[in-house]
Symmetry: C2
Subunit: 160 residues, 2 copies
DNA sequence: ACTTTTTAATTGACGCGTCATCTATTGTCG
DNA sequence: CGACAATAGATGACGCGTCAATTAAAAAGT
């Protein structure tokens, strides 16, 4: 099953072919994600915000005035808590987020986006939307759809 | 092209699903990669090695007795150098890698995999290959192929 | 030949993910 | 009620990616 040299293989300057198309697929996914992350980082850089901070702000905007406890934010990012605490520290320091210990359950800390956070999102969102389009712009709508489907299938196996 | 997400739902929950299929595609890629990374980490954990360290070892094995200068390793991982130096520090400390300042060009540091590194790879590789297959196992070979093609297309745009 | 530029690598600093551990609160049950 | 488990977070430590700045050596320019 010697497969001809693929582009990814060339990019990685690998001397031997992939052992299987599955290995190539997983590497391909990771590599593409890496590229996307890098581009996203560069886009957000002028706004002094990282991709994860951006994600958290979006989640908090979605939560609205009700706010969201620390752990719940982490769940939506599939991130472990320890990271969330410190990420929120930085957002709070920048004045983009506000935290209040919950009176009903004093173990919880409710997090809210501030007006500053809202306006930062308002500034960044349109840029990012256009950008995303350009990133995936080499694909037709149908191709993007099928990409999504394939990736979903891959993730379903994820119970491993 | 507002996709069929009901406007009503969008208004109720400010958490709008996706503005476009392209945004969904990029998020999908990143999410899937995250899952893969997590699983890979777990598989390598018993061997006291991280995914990046594993990658570097594989690259050095590929380089063979000729070895490879630090920067060249970084290029193949698309990682900036600063990280490579320290990653190699850790690999060297564990005895999996050996570094020698190049005599022809004394700026360079040539890196080699050690016997210890080789045998670690020999132990890990088969496990990982089987694992990869399982990760992507929900896909048929043809689906995996088309996934690879779509992702390649996406990365080509990456000059952005 | 001597200065300037470029290249290879290192170091310091910071953000992030993750593990293990710790504290404070709440809940449960005898 | 009082001991004990469960839950929400926080903290310390480590690996990693990345930026900016630094050192050392080679290459280029004059």
């Amino acid at each position: 099953m010697a497969r001809q040299t693929s582009r990814l293989q060339t990019e990685l300057k690998q001397t031997r072919p992939f052992q299987s198309i599955y290995q190539e697929a997983t590497l391909s996914v990771m590599k593409t994600a890496d590229l996307l992350r890098r581009q996203l980082t560069r886009q957000l850089e002028p706004h002094e915000i990282t991709p994860q901070q951006y994600n958290v702000l979006r989640i908090l905007r979605g939560a609205g005035k009700a706010g969201l406890p620390t752990l719940s934010i982490g769940e939506r990012l599939i991130e472990e808590t320890p990271g969330m605490t410190r990420l929120l520290d930085r957002l709070e320091f920048k004045g983009l987020v506000r935290r209040v210990r919950c009176e009903q359950d004093r173990r919880q800390v409710l997090c809210y986006i501030t007006d500053g956070g809202e306006s930062l999102l308002a500034a960044v969102d349109p840029i990012l939307a256009a950008d995303t389009k350009e990133m995936a712009g080499a694909l037709t709508g149908a191709e993007a759809e099928s990409l999504v489907v394939l990736l979903e299938k891959m993730r379903e196996q994820g119970t491993l």
